[in-house]
């Protein structure tokens, strides 16, 4: 176990004109740690995720990332090319809508293989074998390798998107409502799968969700956001079982018991 964080976020703020997207966010993320960011629509959680993943540039604040060679780099001072390389290799981004993270008109195998080719793998046989392996790990039948994701169900598409992201062995994965658009039974399967993969691979992940059950199952630590601010943060089970901020108490008490 290493004694240095993977990501260091300090006083990050993003304003849309005079409106607050998110304000004064600071935290460290450690290797192998899953952080859930919860809050309702408009709380700033997606703005924060987009800033962290450099899809959006913050108005102020810094985020530093420890590269594979141990060097710390300020994410917002990197060149566009460096950021893109990071996104393709050491990071993953799982979108709520799989169509945003997949290429819908190329085969499932190519969707997985493309990320491998981006890091220089050129051997067709190896790429295909790795793709088959990953389809298996996300429980997609090998027979479907040449089908386009257009022909897949929502749950399968989401699993394919996860395989595409994890095939390069990233150390950090961003997830935006990964189970958002799925049926409940499909959600449960996907969550199990994600939980297993995150544990087995020792991934660090930042998961944005409005679903406290998702946070409970996947994360060790969580931040609750409201109106662009973090209103409560801590160990996931502590925040959920002993919520202290008024807004967290409202969220926890609003869960319907089945």
């Amino acid at each position: 176990m290493t004694d240095e964080p993977l990501l260091r976020v300090t006083a990050l703020s993003k304003y849309y004109g005079s409106r607050i997207g998110c304000e004064d966010i600071s935290f460290d993320l450690w290797p192998g740690e899953v952080l859930a960011i919860v809050g309702e629509s408009g709380s700033g959680k997606t703005t924060l995720l987009n800033c962290l993943s450099t899809r959006l540039l913050p108005t102020s604040g810094t985020a530093s990332y420890r590269m594979r060679d141990g060097q710390w780099r300020d994410l917002y001072r990197m060149s566009e090319a460096e950021r893109r390389f990071l996104m393709r290799t050491d990071w993953g981004f799982v979108h709520q809508n799989p169509a945003d993270g997949l290429r819908m008109t190329v085969s499932a195998g190519a969707n997985v293989g493309e990320r491998l080719m981006a890091i220089g793998d050129r051997h067709y046989g190896n790429i295909r074998a790795t793709a088959v392996d990953w389809l298996g790990r996300v429980e997609i039948d090998e027979e479907r390798i040449d089908d386009e994701p257009r022909a897949f169900s929502g749950g399968m598409r989401q699993r394919l998107q996860i395989a595409r992201n994890l095939v390069t062995g990233p150390r950090l994965v961003f997830m935006d409502e990964p189970t958002g658009g799925l049926d409940v039974s499909v959600q449960a399967r996907l969550l199990d799968l994600l939980r297993g993969l995150v544990t087995d691979l020792g991934l660090a992940a930042i998961v944005v969700t409005h679903d406290l059950a998702v946070a409970r199952l996947l994360s060790q630590r969580m931040m609750v956001m409201k109106d662009g601010h973090v209103v409560e943060a801590g160990l996931t089970d502590r925040v959920l079982d002993d919520p202290r901020a008024p807004y967290t108490q409202l969220l926890v008490s609003s869960i319907l018991q089945v």
Binding site: W30, E33, A188, R189, L191, D192, R195, L217, Q220, R221, G234, L235, D237, R238, D241, D242, R244, A245, P246, Q249, L250, S253
Partner: protein
């Protein structure tokens, strides 16, 4: 260390913001320690705050005031103020917990649920499974259930999975939240035996047992929680 767990002047209240901010005091001035090889039992009626104390010691409930000191990796750690990462590390290596109810994860087998704390500490999976099988066998859980997820198990079966999961590691401190509540007499005896073995190994245990027979069999000392009633002025 002879005293692996020290709780000192701990207070806890819940503030219900959705109920106009009323403050519900739970406990105040909780002070006790648990020695190695001892099973201390929290006593007192329902609502006295026994479970809350156990949950604070596990880091599951926040602590308003006071200190909860454990020796972790050779250093003293105050769980009342420790950051989440430290609490997780303490749970992995120092404080084990047998909860009253199993929080099941779909699709994970009973054997994996039990073996998981060992695997998390780096034990090889085969060996962890062997230890898990041994414990589930001792607790008389039918072998045909081992490969199934415990979600559909009966209350007593789930509790035995929970007990096996809590007892599989050699954590120096073990918290027991009514581990025998839904067990039959035979399995209660098995649990009493497991607790005796932990004592011989020097584990410090802190538990809640509503079952008087079990309590009498395992308790070296009763800590009267009513003495920590919130609002009571310390003499």
């Amino acid at each position: 260390m002879a005293t692996p767990l020290i709780v000192s002047e701990v207070s806890k209240a819940f503030t219900m913001h959705l109920r106009g901010g009323i403050r519900l005091p739970v406990v105040a001035n909780v002070s006790f320690s648990v020695r190695a090889g001892e099973c201390a039992v929290l006593g007192g009626p329902s609502g006295a705050g026994k479970s809350s104390i156990l949950k604070m010691v596990y880091g599951n409930y926040g602590v308003d005031q006071g200190q909860i000191i454990v020796e972790h990796h050779g250093q003293l750690v105050d769980l009342a103020t420790a950051n989440p990462r430290t609490v997780l590390s303490v749970r992995r290596d120092t404080i084990g917990y047998v909860s009253q109810f199993l929080r099941t994860v779909p699709r994970v087998s009973a054997l994996d649920v039990v073996a998981e704390p060992l695997v998390a500490r780096g034990t090889e999976r085969g060996e962890a499974h062997a230890r898990a099988s041994e414990l589930l066998g001792r607790l008389n859980l039918p072998e045909r259930l081992w490969s199934l997820p415990p979600a559909t198990f009966s209350g007593g079966e789930q509790q035995r999975v929970n007990i096996a999961r809590g007892f599989i590691t050699d954590h120096p401190v073990l918290l027991l939240d009514e581990p025998t509540a839904s067990l039959d007499a035979t399995n209660r005896e098995v649990v009493i035996g497991l607790i005796e073995e932990k004592k011989l190994k020097g584990t410090a245990m802190l538990g809640i047992f509503h079952d008087a027979d079990v309590r009498e069999a395992v308790a070296d000392r009763i800590i009267d929680v009513t003495a920590f009633a919130a609002g009571k002025v310390a003499a």
